[in-house]
Amino acid sequence: MHPFRDVVVAGVHNPRQARVLEGETSLSVAIDATLGALADAGLDVRDVDGITGSLSSDLTYELGLGPVWQSASALGIPAVMEAAAQIATGLSDVVVVAAGQAGVYTERASTAPWTRPNHEFVAPYGMFTAAEFALIARRHMHMYGTTAEQMATVAATVRNNGHVHPDAIYAGRGPFTVDDILASRMVADPFHLLECAMTSEGGCAIVLARADRVPDLPHAPVWILGGSTDRIGPSYRHAPAWDLRGRDPDGIPNGYVGRRAARRAFATAGLGPDDVDVCELYDPFSFEIIRQFEAFGFCGEGEGGPFVMDGTIGPGGRFPITTDGGLMAFSHGGQTSQLLQRVIRGVQQLRGTCTTMQVEGAEVALCSGGGAGALFNDVLLLGRERP
């Protein structure tokens, strides 16, 4: 029996995302997200008996959910996995995973201030996310000859997905060519500005439910086929080396963080990369897409650069990526909501309700979160067919 046979993704919701959400707070965004996801599932707040996510304590109080099972798993896929396990083990029936962020980071003179390391061995060297991920990308370029054009192809593909998406913060900003990407100013070599995630405000929520609690869902149910999370250490405190390993000198290096998680996810699902129809990959920086295709086994080591060329990852390609525009163009609402939004887009793809970049007949979606520059990478497999 599949461990998540009785766990259905019942509701999802993205409230409005924006560079700045005037008048909103993180809590108000998360409340809108939660209520929207419950409405999407045809459920009421009184049906909720579990909640997780970074604002779970406030949401429990403000929405009057208590007494309720509550956790604070924050980072997207781990929170979804926790909620799914909670239901699969019979400990909860309807669990909300919510995130929201607004009015938190107002320091516009700095780059991605929430990633500024408060750590003595990296802070004095002016590190921040783009530099962390650049050190990973540069090593791969050195080892395998990965090119600026290959990385820019990723960025153009993701940004063009956002360009046509009416709810994306950067809707209508494109279209972008590879040359446009390469002509944008350098932020942290090899990353040009248009190869980096935006910074914005926003939120989202997902409702998971035991299948027999939602027999009359207003839309196609989506199922959790498998998933796992990989962690190497705390983000942005230690040198992000490609070859960083744990105790096992022959173990998977940080450069391929996510590989163990992908193997476990595929094993639980009884599937492999060839069974995936759409790749909702986390896109903090262009190179991370190339790296994840290698880490997850879609191509061989060092083959990720050529793999993303020739239309494979674009509209109508074999493995369309990040179809709403992702962190580069849809939203990057701070620490956690963008990590959950890859899962939401995967659900929308499998429901067949995307108004743009719908992958026709999509049966299996792979969603991810994190990256090697941050020493973590998570994988979730979703499907239309009950496992």
Binding site: A109, S110, T111, P113, R116, N118, E120, F121, V122, A123, P124, Y125, G126, M127, F128, A130, A131, A134, L135, I136, R138, R139, H142, A148, L182, A183, S184, R185, M186, V187, A188, D189, P190, H192, H238, A239, P240, A241, W242, L244, G246, R247, P249
Partner: protein
């Protein structure tokens, strides 16, 4: 670095001004910063498995032994990976600067920054040597210069 995106300014890599925020040592990293103030680069070596360990550890990250002994590095190594930051992470930093991971000859890696050359000189495999520069509160920060 494509020419059209290069700022018109200088592309020489120099140490940051001493006004950047100083490090905030912990109790087990204090020996590192005390040595740095004397312009000595140190690391830990595991008495049991001989692994070179950095940044400062409580137990050996490979074998778990608690007996870690501070040792002095010759400060020579090669660039393992590098980047050039063109937009400062915070206003006290002067761009461009070049964070890099250095492979020290003693067998460990550390994050630092490369100075004393131009952006175009940066490369994986570049031989470098440590050089200390002052920051606030009496601290000295190791940088690496082409050797």
């Amino acid at each position: 670095m494509s020419p059209e995106s290069a700022p018109t300014g200088d592309d020489r890599l120099v140490p940051q001004p001493a006004t950047i925020p100083p490090p905030t040592p912990s109790s087990h990293s204090a020996p590192y910063w005390e040595a740095a103030a004397r312009h000595e680069l140190v690391y830990q070596r595991c008495d049991a498995c001989k692994r070179a360990e950095f940044d400062p550890a409580v137990v050996c990250r490979r074998c778990g032994a608690r007996a870690l002994t501070w040792a002095r590095s010759a400060g020579l190594g090669t660039v393992y990976s590098w980047t050039v930051v063109w937009r400062p992470q915070q206003p006290s930093f002067v761009v461009p600067y070049a964070p890099a991971i250095i492979d020290l000859d003693e067998g460990y890696q550390m994050l630092a920054a490369v100075i004393g050359c131009r952006v175009a000189d940066l490369a994986v495999g570049l031989r470098v040597a440590v050089e200390f520069h002052p920051v606030a509160d009496g601290f000295a920060l190791p940088y690496f210069r082409p050797a």
